[in-house]
Protein backbone atom coordinates (compact mmCIF):
# COMPACT_ATOMS: atom_id res chain seq x y z
CA UNK A 1 0.00 0.00 0.00
CA UNK A 2 1.35 3.39 -0.93
CA UNK A 3 2.50 5.53 1.96
CA UNK A 4 0.27 8.45 1.03
CA UNK A 5 -2.75 6.17 0.91
CA UNK A 6 -1.81 4.71 4.27
CA UNK A 7 -1.79 8.18 5.77
CA UNK A 8 -5.07 9.08 4.16
CA UNK A 9 -6.64 5.84 5.29
CA UNK A 10 -5.38 6.30 8.82
CA UNK A 11 -6.62 9.89 8.99
CA UNK A 12 -10.09 8.79 7.96
CA UNK A 13 -10.38 5.83 10.30
CA UNK A 14 -12.46 6.02 13.41
CA UNK A 15 -9.48 5.14 15.56
CA UNK A 16 -9.36 3.87 19.13
CA UNK A 17 -8.30 6.14 21.93
CA UNK A 18 -4.93 4.65 22.73
CA UNK A 19 -1.61 4.97 20.95
CA UNK A 20 0.26 1.84 19.91
CA UNK A 21 1.91 1.45 23.29
CA UNK A 22 -1.12 2.44 25.30
CA UNK A 23 -0.30 6.10 25.99
CA UNK A 24 -2.78 8.50 24.41
CA UNK A 25 -1.31 11.76 23.15
CA UNK A 26 -2.97 14.64 25.00
CA UNK A 27 -4.78 17.42 23.14
CA UNK A 28 -2.37 20.40 22.89
CA UNK A 29 -4.29 22.92 24.99
CA UNK A 30 -3.47 26.54 24.23
CA UNK A 31 -1.35 25.86 21.14
CA UNK A 32 -2.74 28.91 19.33
CA UNK A 33 -0.70 31.01 21.74
CA UNK A 34 2.51 29.14 20.89
CA UNK A 35 5.29 30.23 18.57
CA UNK A 36 4.52 29.97 14.87
CA UNK A 37 7.22 27.91 13.16
CA UNK A 38 6.25 28.08 9.49
CA UNK A 39 3.38 27.54 7.06
CA UNK A 40 2.71 25.87 3.71
CA UNK A 41 -0.13 25.33 1.28
CA UNK A 42 -0.68 21.87 -0.25
CA UNK A 43 -2.83 21.95 -3.38
CA UNK A 44 -4.67 19.29 -5.40
CA UNK A 45 -2.20 17.18 -7.36
CA UNK A 46 0.34 17.07 -4.53
CA UNK A 47 1.25 13.55 -3.35
CA UNK A 48 0.07 14.38 0.15
CA UNK A 49 -3.11 16.21 -0.84
CA UNK A 50 -5.50 13.52 0.36
CA UNK A 51 -4.00 13.55 3.83
CA UNK A 52 -2.74 17.12 4.18
CA UNK A 53 -4.40 19.26 1.49
CA UNK A 54 -5.05 22.84 2.58
CA UNK A 55 -3.03 25.46 4.42
CA UNK A 56 -1.12 24.33 7.47
CA UNK A 57 0.70 26.15 10.23
CA UNK A 58 3.22 24.61 12.59
CA UNK A 59 3.32 25.73 16.22
CA UNK A 60 5.86 24.85 18.91
CA UNK A 61 5.61 24.95 22.69
CA UNK A 62 8.62 26.30 24.60
CA UNK A 63 10.48 23.00 24.73
CA UNK A 64 9.88 22.41 21.03
CA UNK A 65 10.92 25.97 20.13
CA UNK A 66 14.20 25.27 21.91
CA UNK A 67 14.46 22.00 19.99
CA UNK A 68 14.21 23.82 16.66
CA UNK A 69 17.18 25.94 17.78
CA UNK A 70 19.39 23.19 19.17
CA UNK A 71 18.34 20.31 16.94
CA UNK A 72 17.50 18.21 19.99
CA UNK A 73 13.92 17.88 21.18
CA UNK A 74 13.61 17.23 24.90
CA UNK A 75 10.79 15.33 26.56
CA UNK A 76 7.82 17.65 26.85
CA UNK A 77 8.35 19.18 23.42
CA UNK A 78 5.09 19.43 21.50
CA UNK A 79 4.70 20.41 17.85
CA UNK A 80 1.28 21.13 16.35
CA UNK A 81 0.42 20.81 12.66
CA UNK A 82 -2.72 22.94 12.33
CA UNK A 83 -4.41 22.04 9.05
CA UNK A 84 -7.14 24.30 7.64
CA UNK A 85 -9.03 24.25 4.41
CA UNK A 86 -7.50 26.60 1.84
CA UNK A 87 -10.24 28.59 0.14
CA UNK A 88 -9.11 30.03 -3.18
CA UNK A 89 -11.14 32.85 -4.70
CA UNK A 90 -10.49 36.18 -6.40
CA UNK A 91 -6.76 35.47 -6.70
CA UNK A 92 -6.29 34.97 -2.99
CA UNK A 93 -6.15 32.01 -0.62
CA UNK A 94 -7.99 32.39 2.68
CA UNK A 95 -7.98 30.10 5.68
CA UNK A 96 -11.10 27.95 5.94
CA UNK A 97 -12.44 25.58 8.59
CA UNK A 98 -10.01 23.40 10.52
CA UNK A 99 -9.48 19.89 9.11
CA UNK A 100 -7.24 18.39 11.74
CA UNK A 101 -4.90 19.31 14.57
CA UNK A 102 -1.86 17.08 14.13
CA UNK A 103 0.35 16.60 17.19
CA UNK A 104 3.85 15.33 17.87
CA UNK A 105 4.46 14.93 21.60
CA UNK A 106 7.94 14.00 22.79
CA UNK A 107 8.24 11.42 25.55
CA UNK A 108 11.18 9.06 25.13
CA UNK A 109 9.67 6.40 27.34
CA UNK A 110 6.00 6.46 26.45
CA UNK A 111 6.59 6.62 22.72
CA UNK A 112 9.85 4.69 22.46
CA UNK A 113 8.52 2.59 19.56
CA UNK A 114 8.04 5.68 17.38
CA UNK A 115 11.28 7.59 17.90
CA UNK A 116 10.21 9.01 21.25
CA UNK A 117 7.35 10.92 19.63
CA UNK A 118 3.68 10.32 20.18
CA UNK A 119 1.64 11.12 17.05
CA UNK A 120 -2.04 12.01 16.98
CA UNK A 121 -4.57 13.93 14.94
CA UNK A 122 -7.65 15.60 16.40
CA UNK A 123 -10.42 15.96 13.87
CA UNK A 124 -11.66 19.45 13.05
CA UNK A 125 -12.22 21.44 16.21
CA UNK A 126 -12.70 18.35 18.36
CA UNK A 127 -10.43 17.72 21.33
CA UNK A 128 -11.52 14.09 21.60
CA UNK A 129 -12.08 12.64 18.11
CA UNK A 130 -8.81 10.97 17.25
CA UNK A 131 -7.66 10.26 13.70
CA UNK A 132 -4.50 8.24 14.34
CA UNK A 133 -4.79 6.27 17.57
CA UNK A 134 -2.86 3.02 17.49
CA UNK A 135 -1.84 3.51 13.87
CA UNK A 136 0.94 6.01 14.58
CA UNK A 137 3.74 3.68 13.51
CA UNK A 138 2.45 3.21 9.97
CA UNK A 139 0.35 6.36 9.57
CA UNK A 140 2.95 8.83 10.84
CA UNK A 141 6.29 7.47 11.95
CA UNK A 142 7.00 5.56 8.76
CA UNK A 143 7.39 8.86 6.89
CA UNK A 144 9.05 10.68 9.77
CA UNK A 145 11.88 8.13 9.94
CA UNK A 146 13.26 9.90 6.86
CA UNK A 147 14.05 12.78 9.24
CA UNK A 148 15.93 10.75 11.84
CA UNK A 149 18.89 13.13 11.61
CA UNK A 150 16.57 16.03 12.52
CA UNK A 151 14.98 14.32 15.48
CA UNK A 152 12.22 12.94 13.18
CA UNK A 153 10.97 16.49 12.55
CA UNK A 154 10.35 17.73 9.00
CA UNK A 155 9.93 21.43 9.66
CA UNK A 156 12.52 24.08 10.43
CA UNK A 157 11.88 27.39 12.13
CA UNK A 158 11.48 30.21 9.61
CA UNK A 159 13.28 33.25 10.89
Amino acid sequence: MHRTMLIAAAMSLSAPLMAADGAAVPYPEGYRQWVHVKSMVINPGHALFDAFGGIHHLYANKQAALGYKTGKFADGAVIVFDLLEANSADNAVQEGPRKVVGVMHKDSKKYKATGGWGFEGFKGDSKTERAVGKNAATACFECHTAQSKNGFVFSAFRK
Copy 2:
Protein backbone atom coordinates in the same frame (compact mmCIF):
# COMPACT_ATOMS: atom_id res chain seq x y z
CA MET B 1 -4.27 57.95 -8.50
CA HIS B 2 -5.61 54.52 -7.71
CA ARG B 3 -5.31 53.45 -4.08
CA THR B 4 -3.43 50.26 -4.91
CA MET B 5 -0.92 52.18 -6.97
CA LEU B 6 -0.49 54.67 -4.16
CA ILE B 7 0.36 51.84 -1.81
CA ALA B 8 2.73 50.25 -4.27
CA ALA B 9 4.40 53.57 -4.97
CA ALA B 10 4.77 54.33 -1.29
CA MET B 11 6.20 50.90 -0.55
CA SER B 12 8.85 51.35 -3.22
CA LEU B 13 9.93 54.83 -2.23
CA SER B 14 13.14 55.45 -0.40
CA ALA B 15 11.29 57.11 2.43
CA PRO B 16 12.62 59.40 5.12
CA LEU B 17 13.00 58.17 8.68
CA MET B 18 10.18 60.07 10.31
CA ALA B 19 6.45 59.42 10.26
CA ALA B 20 4.10 62.22 9.24
CA ASP B 21 4.03 63.74 12.69
CA GLY B 22 7.69 63.19 13.44
CA ALA B 23 7.50 59.97 15.46
CA ALA B 24 9.22 57.05 13.76
CA VAL B 25 7.57 53.66 14.29
CA PRO B 26 10.09 51.37 16.02
CA TYR B 27 11.10 48.03 14.50
CA PRO B 28 9.04 45.30 16.22
CA GLU B 29 11.84 43.38 17.94
CA GLY B 30 11.02 39.77 18.74
CA TYR B 31 7.74 39.64 16.82
CA ARG B 32 8.42 36.09 15.56
CA GLN B 33 7.76 34.95 19.13
CA TRP B 34 4.39 36.72 19.22
CA VAL B 35 0.96 35.18 18.78
CA HIS B 36 0.05 34.25 15.22
CA VAL B 37 -3.25 35.89 14.30
CA LYS B 38 -3.96 34.56 10.80
CA SER B 39 -2.46 34.13 7.33
CA MET B 40 -3.39 34.66 3.70
CA VAL B 41 -1.92 34.26 0.23
CA ILE B 42 -2.33 37.05 -2.33
CA ASN B 43 -1.74 35.88 -5.89
CA PRO B 44 -1.11 37.69 -9.21
CA GLY B 45 -4.32 39.28 -10.45
CA HIS B 46 -5.41 40.42 -6.98
CA ALA B 47 -5.96 44.18 -6.65
CA LEU B 48 -3.34 44.36 -3.90
CA PHE B 49 -0.78 42.09 -5.56
CA ASP B 50 1.71 44.83 -6.38
CA ALA B 51 1.82 45.97 -2.77
CA PHE B 52 1.12 42.76 -0.87
CA GLY B 53 1.60 39.80 -3.23
CA GLY B 54 2.89 36.66 -1.52
CA ILE B 55 2.05 34.88 1.70
CA HIS B 56 1.55 37.01 4.79
CA HIS B 57 1.23 36.23 8.46
CA LEU B 58 -0.13 38.58 11.10
CA TYR B 59 1.40 38.61 14.57
CA ALA B 60 0.21 40.42 17.69
CA ASN B 61 2.07 41.45 20.83
CA LYS B 62 0.29 40.95 24.16
CA GLN B 63 -1.56 44.26 24.08
CA ALA B 64 -2.65 43.67 20.48
CA ALA B 65 -3.73 40.09 21.24
CA LEU B 66 -5.97 41.52 23.95
CA GLY B 67 -7.24 44.06 21.44
CA TYR B 68 -8.34 41.31 19.05
CA LYS B 69 -10.39 39.85 21.92
CA THR B 70 -11.96 43.04 23.23
CA GLY B 71 -12.17 45.03 20.00
CA LYS B 72 -10.25 47.88 21.62
CA PHE B 73 -6.55 48.31 20.99
CA ALA B 74 -4.71 50.03 23.83
CA ASP B 75 -1.59 52.13 23.45
CA GLY B 76 1.37 49.81 23.13
CA ALA B 77 -0.48 47.36 20.91
CA VAL B 78 1.64 46.30 17.94
CA ILE B 79 0.50 44.25 14.95
CA VAL B 80 3.00 42.89 12.43
CA PHE B 81 2.16 42.03 8.81
CA ASP B 82 4.99 39.68 7.83
CA LEU B 83 5.04 39.42 4.04
CA LEU B 84 7.06 36.66 2.36
CA GLU B 85 7.36 35.61 -1.23
CA ALA B 86 5.04 32.71 -2.05
CA ASN B 87 6.92 30.11 -4.07
CA SER B 88 4.58 27.82 -5.99
CA ALA B 89 5.95 24.54 -7.30
CA ASP B 90 4.85 20.90 -7.48
CA ASN B 91 1.32 21.75 -6.34
CA ALA B 92 2.47 23.38 -3.13
CA VAL B 93 3.16 26.92 -1.94
CA GLN B 94 6.24 27.42 0.19
CA GLU B 95 7.38 30.50 2.05
CA GLY B 96 10.16 32.40 0.30
CA PRO B 97 12.32 35.37 1.26
CA ARG B 98 10.81 38.18 3.29
CA LYS B 99 9.49 41.13 1.28
CA VAL B 100 8.50 43.51 4.03
CA VAL B 101 7.68 43.65 7.72
CA GLY B 102 4.61 45.85 7.98
CA VAL B 103 3.88 47.37 11.37
CA MET B 104 0.93 49.02 13.08
CA HIS B 105 1.94 50.57 16.39
CA LYS B 106 -0.74 52.08 18.63
CA ASP B 107 -0.01 55.36 20.32
CA SER B 108 -2.99 57.68 20.50
CA LYS B 109 -0.87 60.77 20.95
CA LYS B 110 2.07 60.19 18.63
CA TYR B 111 -0.07 58.96 15.76
CA LYS B 112 -3.23 60.95 16.34
CA ALA B 113 -3.43 61.97 12.68
CA THR B 114 -3.73 58.35 11.55
CA GLY B 115 -6.30 56.91 13.94
CA GLY B 116 -3.79 56.52 16.77
CA TRP B 117 -1.79 54.00 14.75
CA GLY B 118 1.72 54.47 13.46
CA PHE B 119 2.27 52.64 10.16
CA GLU B 120 5.62 51.51 8.81
CA GLY B 121 7.17 48.89 6.56
CA PHE B 122 10.68 47.53 7.00
CA LYS B 123 12.10 46.22 3.75
CA GLY B 124 13.11 42.56 3.56
CA ASP B 125 15.11 41.59 6.62
CA SER B 126 16.24 45.14 7.32
CA LYS B 127 15.44 46.80 10.62
CA THR B 128 16.29 50.25 9.30
CA GLU B 129 15.20 50.55 5.65
CA ARG B 130 11.77 52.11 5.82
CA ALA B 131 9.16 51.78 3.08
CA VAL B 132 6.45 54.11 4.35
CA GLY B 133 7.94 56.93 6.40
CA LYS B 134 5.95 60.13 6.18
CA ASN B 135 3.51 58.65 3.65
CA ALA B 136 1.49 56.70 6.21
CA ALA B 137 -1.66 58.78 5.79
CA THR B 138 -2.03 58.08 2.08
CA ALA B 139 -0.11 54.81 1.80
CA CYS B 140 -1.74 53.03 4.74
CA PHE B 141 -4.36 54.89 6.71
CA GLU B 142 -6.49 55.78 3.71
CA CYS B 143 -7.40 52.11 3.27
CA HIS B 144 -7.56 51.38 7.00
CA THR B 145 -10.21 54.05 7.57
CA ALA B 146 -12.66 51.54 6.09
CA GLN B 147 -12.14 49.57 9.30
CA SER B 148 -12.87 52.42 11.71
CA LYS B 149 -15.44 50.28 13.52
CA ASN B 150 -12.78 47.66 14.16
CA GLY B 151 -10.19 50.04 15.50
CA PHE B 152 -8.80 50.47 11.94
CA VAL B 153 -7.68 46.83 11.95
CA PHE B 154 -8.59 44.53 9.03
CA SER B 155 -7.64 41.17 10.53
CA ALA B 156 -9.47 39.08 13.10
CA PHE B 157 -7.94 36.39 15.28
CA ARG B 158 -8.46 32.92 13.77
CA LYS B 159 -9.32 30.51 16.53
